[in-house]
Amino acid sequence: MSVTYLEAIREAQAYLLEHDSRVYIYGQDVGAFGGAFKATKHLANRFPGRVIDAPISEDAMIGSAVGAAIEGMRPIIEIQFADFSTVGLNQVVNQAATLFWRTETPCPITLRLPSGGTSGGGPFHSQCLESIYAHFPGLVVCTPATVEDAYSMLIESVTLDDPVIFCEHKYLYYHLKAESLPKDALPLGKARIARAGRDCTVVTYSAMLHECLEAAEEMSAEGIELEVVDLRTVKPLDTDTIIASVARTGRLLCAAEGWPWGGVNAEVISRVVAEGFNLLDAPPQRINAKDTPIPYHPKLWSVHRPAAASIMAAVRNVLRS
């Protein structure tokens, strides 16, 4: 038996619905249809009245989740594509993210954002918005890269008393498989050494983890050993784990699928240089998507996003200096 990243998300939701009566799911087409990506397939049937079709009203969907959270519920909001969360952003950053700080009232909502590029996705079905949400105070931002994390981090997110932006990567939905669901997991906020190595630290997350691991395998054949850090959450950032790795390797590349200006890579580098400047043997570098909308044609897209080949080139750049 094997389980995909998408199935892990579905199983996590089933688990939550079964074990916590405060949990419900609200999103477009999540009910009988089971969601655009089938992440809620059969759940409406199994949990009547708790998996609810929403109108095309992202602002009201998210606003209502805050109200329900105030009343003690733990809503999961599925946004059909992360890109569409821009029309509900205000309720996230100004309503949900400020509630606890303003009033000491918990706001346990989880927003599931199917994120990131897939072939042919184009400018409006491919975006990575984790850096946008992470900039605002009051949110936890998850970016699981593995089947195990998709499962355990979603369960922990919904269990948390704070609002969580759960960026699940569409590219991983069907392709990524694991043997089984995990029994235990690192807590939210802890990064993971996905691969040990002595020559350069590569900090990454979500779908890019797999491009980095592929790059690491290829470079290993040449005798270059990359240490790959999977951030798991981009807010909070596990600076300690990153710095400990840089202490071992002396070099740093950050790889993210998001746009280049600001964002996760810039934040990681700023922390490493502030706290671990003397550990560095070379200038830390980063690789991102290009600073344009995400292109539709696969030939353009494959150059727009970082991938194993361009990551390898970037690593060589770090090693050279």
Partner: protein, 330 residues
């Protein structure tokens, strides 16, 4: 007679209106004396409508008031002390100096703290009502209060439509005070009356003279009763006039003399006093005494707030999350 109009209740409503008005006047004074940080936004002319919202709600209900709802807040259970604490930034108030003036509430008590973004509170009320239904509660309602200008927001539209689809016991009250800041309703919508919006959402509508306390009480009671009984969302449009500037920095020179002279321009507090005297046989003396009592309470509250001091930034918890272990150091 409609029980909402019995003497004790009307007196109660009037006294909250009076408190709201006098509190507003004090806030305006304090503002001019530089004793308030940020803006001050008054509810002058809207007390009859506002108080009626608070009067028809029970403890298990949900209330999302807006900037001009001082009276409704009091009637729903807020103290003058909390209002003053928030405006003056006391660390003891519900917002502890973190948020100010009208942005206050006690969400755990069903009293939602508005954010500034207009229209954004309505769907929050919806969610609270959905939750109560899921939890099996019965006979609850939620009131969301907005202005004429907020009807132009996407948030308003999405939320009233959501409430209609989910058949929620939402009472959405629009205080049509003829202006959004300086903008007249003619630049805000092109329908004849905002109540014409109801049919397009499949919800019931009510229109009321917002200057009349008894009319407001009756209409709000009727609307909430219907919502409680499962008739779905109720849209209440109240016609009145803002008898002050948008905020105390605004002299409202743009309000036309015609509007001021028209029936919407009447002062609901004065009209309520007249009604109390003529229909409920309250004496001028009683009115005077209530006023004095109210002034006293406000003065005592202000003194207390002044004793409470200011928040101490160096012993303040700068944490945006409950999960302290997930907070980043800053």
């Amino acid at each position: 007679m409609n029980p909402i109009l019995d003497k004790a209740r009307v007196i109660k409503a009037y006294r909250w209106m009076l408190m709201a008005r006098l509190l507003d006047e004090r806030l305006a004074q304090l503002y001019r004396a530089g004793r308030i940080f940020g803006g001050v936004f008054l509810g002058k002319g809207q007390e009859a409508l506002s108080v009626s919202m608070g009067m028809v709600l029970n403890r298990q209900d949900v209330y999302a008031p807006l900037i001009r709802d001082g009276a409704g807040r009091l009637a729903f259970g807020e103290s003058a002390l909390d209002a003053l604490r928030t405006c003056m930034g006391s660390p003891m108030g519900p917002m502890r100096g973190r948020d100010g003036n009208v942005h206050r509430g006690r969400p755990k008590e069903g009293y939602l703290p508005m954010i500034s973004h207009l229209g954004a509170s309505i769907s929050v009320v919806n969610g609270a009502l959905m939750a109560k239904r899921m939890k099996g509660e019965k006979k609850f309602v939620g009131i969301a209060s907005i202005g004429d200008g907020a009807t132009s927001t996407g948030a308003f539209h999405e939320a009233i439509n959501q409430a209609a689809i989910e058949k929620l016991p939402l009472v959405l009250v629009v205080a049509n005070n003829q202006y959004a800041y300086s903008t007249p309703t003619s630049s805000q919508f092109a329908c004849q009356s905002l109540s014409q919006k109801a049919i397009g959402y499949g919800v019931s509508d009510h229109e009321v003279d917002g200057t009349s306390l008894t009319d407001c009480l009756k209409t709000m009671q009727d609307a909430t009763d219907r919502a409680r009984q499962g008739e779905g969302p109720q849209l209440v449009i109240a016609n009145l006039l803002r008898l002050c500037g948008h905020g105390e920095h605004d002299d409202a020179h743009y309000i036309t003399p015609e509007l001021k002279a028209s029936s919407v321009g009447a002062d609901c507090l004065k009209l309520a006093e007249n009604t109390l005297q003529s229909d409920y046989h309250i004496s001028k003396e009683s009115l005077e005494i209530w006023k004095e009592e109210t002034v006293l309470e406000i003065n005592q509250s202000i003194e207390q707030v002044q004793r409470e001091g200011a928040p101490d930034p160096y012993h303040h918890s700068w944490k945006s999350l409950i999960s302290r272990e997930l907070c980043e150091h800053s």
